[in-house]
């Protein structure tokens, strides 16, 4: 089936099979590989995107369900060149190691700070606990969220 998606402000068309996830279509059909596939079951948060401003795991949303809604991926947070303040903070604070979880964490953090510009430590823990990182030990991710909140 043919669907039309609003991704990062652009109207994109894709031929999809009804069972295809939004993540699959973003990565394999629309050339947007920033959202990562690491668990396929909504456990790791690596595929976090915004759907009408709400945080979702793109692996748990069917592409067809996203039709008529605004999708924002990590590629759409900043313009073609620059860095979103959250991206800048992650890079500056050293919150990026292998970086495979980073796109999901960046989207989740942007979503958190949108709703709560000055989160407490517990609120950060709560908001980011759905995003797994196997490298950093999360300490620098705290630093990055606080840094981004201050900018």
């Amino acid at each position: 089936m043919r669907i039309e998606l609003d991704v990062n402000g652009e109207q994109l068309e894709a031929d999809v099979w009804a069972g295809e996830s939004l993540l699959y279509v973003l990565r394999e059909r629309l050339g947007l590989p920033g959202s990562k596939n690491a668990c396929e079951q909504g456990e790791c948060g690596s595929c976090s995107v915004l759907l009408d401003g709400e945080l979702v795991c793109a692996c748990l949303v069917l592409a067809a369900q996203a039709e008529g809604h605004e999708v924002v991926t990590v590629e759409g947070l900043a313009g073609a060149e620059g860095l979103h303040p959250v991206q800048a903070a992650f890079a500056r604070a050293g919150a990026v190691q292998c970086g495979f979880c980073t796109p999901g964490l960046v989207v989740t953090t942007a979503h958190l700070l949108e709703r709560n510009p000055d989160p407490s430590e517990d609120e950060i823990r709560e908001a980011l606990s759905g995003n797994l990182c196997r490298c950093t030990g999360y300490a620098k991710i705290f630093d990055a969220v606080k840094l981004a909140a201050g900018t």
Binding site: E75, S129, R134, T136, G137
Partner: protein, 759 residues
């Protein structure tokens, strides 16, 4: 000058003696401490790409006409394929080729573990490939699996000969002891769970094979693939520019590479073979479980007289038996030590190196045993460790190239002094305590490793070497080293890595060896380029080379002259300066090791068994620290993995069938940001004066090694319970508390009996 030497090469604690051609390492080390760029915190040079989602991982490679493979895996721990028909698979929509046992050496019709690869298919999409596999008609003969490690040892089912080593006389050591502690420790199977699963994309073109792969060793993949496929190594190109974690599990090509290569050969199309999370947790390795039966004896003053360890490593169906007894052999000045390691061959998924394999498990046993001994002797645990400090390597009497563990202990003291204060926080069911554990590991790296440095007329520099950055920040560290040597700012350095056809040989990123192996080669290449810049400058400014040096983007002369470096480089026009460097030899006759100590503060709810880690202090001695920001991040990452290993991670098997129950991330509990304690990371940061032109050792593995023992010792301090089995789930914690109460009850009864008798 190239020199032929016979030397010991170490990877992950494995030593082999071999001939090796090395270049002399003629450069003097830089002075200790922070320099212009080296030793100062540097954010990732590629942080921007990674944060924007633009970094291209193997998972993101898209090639025209690429097919997708799916693998049929054994659902049984031990079975035989009676019959297999793939005709319906081949007829399924989108399918282009199938492979069955016999088509590739990685496919088997007698699987020895759950998840062993049996057959494979390539289709236009992964969904089609997976759907097609469901059509496979397999008749299995299910066989009885061997799952009990002690039984395997008894039966002689081993992956290799038992490794037994002894120094001194342990029987005499036991008889000389005034206190002896014997205990059995157990550690569980732990899964790597790198976020990027194991995968490769293979493409054949005119008899040449390109392999895009998530790997820790480009050149190892190249060599193994070339050998297996009987190709000249130069016909195999291996590419990995960005890599989503490995932790030891991605040192080799894996079955997926050979499956992709064969399917690509048959179809003439690029083929991706990417494992799902479930496959990842079956077939890509694990930290094997262990049983450790240990003995320690000491005089009443704490002097160790004997250490004995009998270790069973549950290696799995294939794999290797890690050095679980290594810490016991290396950490303390004990004359009488006997270590016996058995690698039990079982019908379980094979192990793979996992961040300090053997040493993580062995340190848990040894360092818990030391604290049980300290309790028996009524000695302070830190004092006991200092009394048995080893000044040289007692395995073969060699001096250490450097060892600053005493300095680590000294820096630990102010933290250790908080112990009373921490205990005093105990309230109601919540008991607080503090524990510590020491760490020893390899991490000296070695030759061969090479790098080139290219300077253009714009005064920008490219470091070129076919190494990999597995996420640890090697790219940034190499840029810092080149920047330092050339007197340039970091933003003028580019690092080109990740492609065997675009740079010289580089060593494996395992065994904490990337910085100590590659860093000196990069510095040596940068120094070669700097020398050439100075040569040209001397001619241009009519000065002697010896009065010129490179600093802050300028060529400076001893008499105060200063010229922007571009004044010289622009003379190159389209030409380039090419610097070439190699890793020099390791110091002969010396043992290079890394050391450290960690202190944990915990709280235990003795009613529910809940354990909370409040704070961990880590003090490590890894020689010169190149990037303090990256280094502290390594420590934090190691500690949180260590906390997972200690408290929550556990690969569970069905005890009847041997099948793996925890294949997904809802069943296998990785730590999240909610589990993070306060972490304090400190470094001794003294260059190892004998080791290379940098004096740097590796840091990838050390931080995970002492964490579990430090936590278990803190739990003992808080509750009096000996936790001897990982993970310390609530169930395990309650069991240990019950055992402690029973022991206390017995001791009280014994005291009462004694009192009655003496009355």
């Amino acid at each position: 000058m190239a020199r032929l030497i016979r030397t010991e090469k170490e990877v992950e604690g494995h030593y082999t003696e071999q001939w090796i051609v090395v270049d002399e390492d003629a450069l003097d080390q830089w002075p200790a401490g922070p320099l212009q760029t080296v030793g100062k915190p540097a954010p990732r040079v590629d942080g921007r790409e990674r944060a924007r989602g633009e970094a291209t991982y193997t998972a993101d490679i898209q090639l025209p006409g690429m097919l997708h493979a799916a693998v049929l895996r054994s659902p049984h721990a031990r079975a035989r394929v009676r019959s297999l028909s793939l005709s319906s698979v081949l007829a399924a929509p989108g399918v282009r080729a199938v492979l069955e046992p016999g088509d590739s050496h990685v496919l088997t019709d007698e699987p020895g573990y759950h998840g062993a690869a049996v057959a494979a298919v390539a289709a236009d999409t992964f969904a089609q490939a997976r759907a097609a596999l469901a059509q496979a008609a397999v008749e299995w003969e299910v066989l009885e699996p061997l799952l009990d490690p002690d039984q395997a040892v008894e039966k002689g089912s081993l992956v290799s000969e038992p490794n037994v080593s002894e120094r001194g006389a342990t029987e005499r050591g036991v008889s000389e002891a005034e206190a002896v502690v014997e205990a059995e420790y157990r550690t569980q199977t732990v899964l790597h769970n790198s976020l990027e699963t194991h995968q490769a994309v293979c493409v054949w073109e005119s008899g040449r094979l390109d392999v895009y792969i998530s790997t820790q060793f480009l050149w190892g993949v190249r060599a193994t693939v070339a050998e297996q496929l009987e190709l000249p190594p130069d016909k195999v190109r291996v590419v990995c520019n960005f890599m989503g974690g490995g932790f030891g599990s991605k040192n080799g090509p894996g079955e997926y590479t050979f499956i992709a290569a064969e399917l690509a050969r048959r179809t003439g199309r690029p083929v991706r073979c990417a494992l799902t999370r479930r496959e990842e947790n079956l077939a890509t390795g694990n930290r094997n479980s262990t049983i450790q039966r240990l003995t320690a004896g000491a005089r009443s003053d704490g002097t160790l007289t004997v250490l004995k360890g009998d270790y069973v490593n549950s290696v799995g169906f294939e794999g290797w038996s890690p050095s679980t007894g290594g810490p016991m052999e290396l950490l303390y000045a004990c004359e009488n030590v006997r270590v016996a390691e058995h690698g039990a061959k079982l019908n379980t998924p094979p192990n793979a190196a996992f961040r300090a394999p053997g040493f993580v498990e062995g340190t848990f046993g040894l360092e818990c045993l030391m604290d049980e001994l300290a309790a028996r002797l009524d000695l302070d645990p830190l004092e006991l460790r200092m009394r048995n400090y080893a000044d040289s390597d007692l395995v073969d009497g060699r001096p250490f190239s450097s060892k600053n563990l005493l300095e680590c202990y000294r820096r630990a003291q102010p933290h250790w002094a908080r112990r009373e204060e921490v205990r005093a926080r105990s309230q109601g069911p919540w008991k607080h305590g503090m524990g510590l554990a020491s760490q020893v590991w390899y991490g000296g790296g070695g030759p061969p490793s090479y790098a080139w440095v290219r300077v253009g007329s714009d005064g920008r520099v490219q470091v070129v070497t076919a190494m990999q950055d597995i996420g640890t920040g090697s790219r940034t560290a190499m840029a810092q080293i080149a920047a330092e040597e050339l007197g340039l700012s970091l933003d003028r350095i580019e690092v080109s890595l990740g492609d065997t056809s675009r740079g010289p040989f580089a060593s494996i990123s395992a065994g904490s060896s990337t910085i100590p192996s590659m860093g000196p080669a990069v510095r040596s290449a940068a120094a070669d380029a700097a020398r050439q810049i100075v040569e040209i400058a001397a001619q241009r400014y009519h000065l002697e080379e010896r009065v010129l040096s490179l600093r802050n983007g300028h060529i400076v002369s001893a008499d105060g002259g200063s010229w922007p470096i571009e004044e010289i480089t622009e003379l190159l026009g389209e030409g380039q300066i090419l610097g070439k460097g190699a890793r020099g030899p390791n110091p002969t006759g010396m043992r290079t090791l890394t050391f450290g100590v960690q202190l944990a503060e915990v709280a235990v709810d003795i009613e529910t068994g809940e354990v909370l880690v409040d704070r961990i202090v880590a003090i490590h001695d890894v020689g010169r620290v190149i990037n303090p920001l990256g280094a502290s991040s390594q420590v934090e990452g190691g500690i949180i993995q260590g906390i997972g290993h200690t408290l929550s991670e556990d690969r569970l098997l069905d005890p009847g069938t041997g099948t793996v129950l925890t294949q997904t991330l809802d069943a296998y509990k990785l730590p999240t940001i909610a589990d993070v304690p306060e972490i304090v990371a400190e470094f001794v940061d003294r260059p190892d004066e004998h080791l290379t032109n940098l004096g740097s050792k590796g840091l990838g593995e050390p931080p995970i090694i002492p964490t579990s023992a430090a936590i278990a010792n803190a739990i003992r301090d808080a509750t009096g319970a000996n936790v001897r089995s990982l993970p310390i789930t609530r169930e395990e914690m309650l069991r240990a508390l019950r055992a402690a109460r029973e022991r206390e009850g017995l001791e009280r009864t014994a005291e009462t009996v004694g009192e009655v008798r003496s009355a």
